[in-house]
Symmetry: D3
Subunit: 125 residues, 6 copies
C-alpha cells in the first residue's frame, strides 16, 4: 500500500535531519501544528523524496543556500548536521561554505563557518 | 614548475564555465581589468582548485546559492551552463532549483527555473 | 466528494491570479511540470485555501513581501494584479508599497511602484 | 490647530506599537536622537497616518515584509505586537507568517513563527 | 527665511543627482506623487542635508550599499552618477565596487561594475 | 624585497581592524585555517591595499554595506571599530548608518545603530 505524503515525509526527515527535525516540529505544535505538517509533507514528503538528485547533493545545495542567505543560522546548523547524516564529510561541508564567500561574501561565509564549527564540536562530545 | 594562481585559475575557469567566463573577463577589461584577475585568481585559482569537494558538487552548490540570492540571474545562467559542463544532468539542475523553493521561496526558484530553461534550449540549437 | 489538492489549487489560483497563473504554469510545462503542480497544490491548494485570513489581506501580505524582496518583479506584478482581482483598490496597493519604503528602503519601493504603474495602466487599455 | 508631524507621529506610534515604540526611541537617545525623531515623524507621522489603508492591513503588510526579510527579528516582534494592538487576531498573524513560506522560504517563516510564539506567550503572562 | 524641507530637498537632490532625480520624481507623478515628495523631503531634505558627513562620503556609502543589495540596479546607476557629480573619481567608484565583492560576493559586484561601465561611457558621449 | 600578499594582508588588517581581525582568524584556525588566509590575503592583502581609495572611504563603504545587509552584525561591529581606527568620527559613522535607512529600511539601520552604540560604549570603558 502506498505511503501517504506525511509518512514519506516523516521517514525522509528523520533520515536527513535526525532528531533535529523533531525538535522543530515540536516547537511548532503549540502555535501552528499545520505548519509543521507542511514542512514534513511538502519539503520532505514531496521534494526530498524525488528521484533525480542524490541525498548528499541535496544537502550540499541546502548548506550552500542557507550560507548565502545569512539570516537563518538555526536552520543552517540543522542542515550541516543533515549533510553529515547523509554522508558528507566535514571537509566537504567546510569547502562548500568557503566557496560561498565568492557568491555571498566573506561575512555570511564566516558566520556559516562558525555554525559548522559548533555542530562539528557538538558531535565530538 | 608550479603553475601561478593565474594559470591555475584560467585553466579551471575554462574547464567549468567554458567561454562564459571569458565573456565576463573581457567585459571587465575596459573598466576594471584587475577585478577580472581577482575572479580568475581567487575564485577559480584558489577556491575551485581546492581538493576536498568534487567539481559537480561545487557547481550544485553554486546553482543553489545563486538561485536563492535571486538577484544575479546572469551569473546563475553562467553556472547552470557550468554545472552541465562538469557533468551535472539537466534533471539534477532542475531538482536543485525546485528544492530551493523550500529555502528561498517560489518566486526566486521560478526565475531560476526560467533561466535554466533558457540555457538548456540554447544548448539544443 | 472532497476536491483534491490540485482541484482546490487550480480554482483558488484562477480566482486570485486570473490568467497570470496559467501563464506561469504553462512556461514550466516543458522544463519542470511537477514544479507547476507544487505551486498549484501547495501555494494555492494548501495555503491560500486556509480559513483564518481573508483573500484581500493575503494579497496585501504578498505585495508587501514581494516589494521588500526587491528581486522578483515578475511575481510582484502577478500579485499586484492578484490584489486587484480579490478586491484591493489601486490606492490600497500604492499605500502598501509606499509603506514598504520604511522597511525595505526607497529603491525597492520605487521599483515596486513602477511595477504597479505598469499593471494599472495595462488594465486601463 | 494642526498637529505637527511629530505630534501625529507619537500618537500613531503609541496607538500601533504601544510601549514597544518608546523603548526603541529611548535606546536611540544617547547615540542618535534625531534618528528616533525621523522614525516618529516619517514612518508614523507621515506614512502610517495616511488614509487609504486601514491600520490592520498596514500591520499585516509589516509582518509579511519583516518575515521575508528574515534578518530583523526584534522589529518583527514589535510589529507582531503592533498587529495585535490594531485588532489582528493571533490566527491572522499565524496565517500571514505561514503564507510567507511560499515567498521567502521555510527557514525565514519558521524564525518568524517562533518570534510570534514568544510575543503571544508573553501576552498571556 | 528658513527654507522648507521640500525646498532644501529639491536643491540637494539636484546637486547630487542632477536630472536623474527629476526623472524618478516625474515617473511617480501619475501614480504616487506623494511618494516623490517623501523622497525629496525625507531622503534629500532631511538626511542628505545633515552636517556631519561630507557629500562624497555619502555617495560612496550609497554606491556601496546599492551594490551589495544587488537588486536595485536603476538606483545604483543614478547614484554612480551622483557620486561623480559630488566629486568622486571613476577610480574611486570602481574601487568601492571592487571592495564590495568581499562583502556581498562577486556576482553582485560584477553587476554593479557593469552598471558603472554604462554610466561612465554614457558620460563620454 | 617585495612583501608577500600574506605579509601585506596582516599589516593592513591590523591597521584597520586592530585585534578584532586576529580574533576572527584565530576562531577559524581549528576548522578552516586556509579560510583565514584567504581573508588576510584577498580582502586585506589584495583589496584594502589597493591605491585609489583612502582608508576612511573604504571603511565608510564597509559600514554602509554591512548595515543594509542586516544579517552580519558581528562583522559590522568589527568594521565600526575599523572605521574609528582609520580616523572616522563617531558622528560620521552615525550619519552613514542613519542614511542607510533610506536604502535598506529602518529596521536594518536600527540594528546597525544599536551595534554602533555597543562599540562606542565599549571604547569608553
Amino acid at each position: 500500500m502506498a505511503k501517504s505524503r506525511r509518512e514519506k515525509g516523516i521517514e525522509k526527515m528523520n533520515q536527513v535531519l535526525g532528531k533535529g527535525g523533531d525538535i522543530v516540529i515540536n516547537k511548532l505544535k503549540e502555535i501552528a501544528p499545520d505548519f509543521g505538517d507542511m514542512i514534513i509533507e511538502f519539503a520532505y514528503g514531496d521534494i526530498y523524496n524525488r528521484p533525480g538528485l542524490d541525498m548528499k547533493s541535496r544537502e550540499i545545495a541546502s548548506v550552500a543556500a542557507l550560507t548565502v542567505m545569512g539570516n537563518v543560522i538555526p536552520q543552517l546548523k540543522v542542515h550541516i548536521q543533515g549533510a553529515l547524516n547523509v554522508g558528507c564529510s566535514e571537509t566537504e561541508i567546510v569547502e562548500v561554505i568557503m566557496q560561498m564567500s565568492a557568491y555571498g561574501g566573506f561575512p555570511a561565509a564566516l558566520n556559516a563557518m562558525f555554525a559548522a564549527k559548533e555542530v562539528f564540536s557538538k558531535n565530538k562530545k
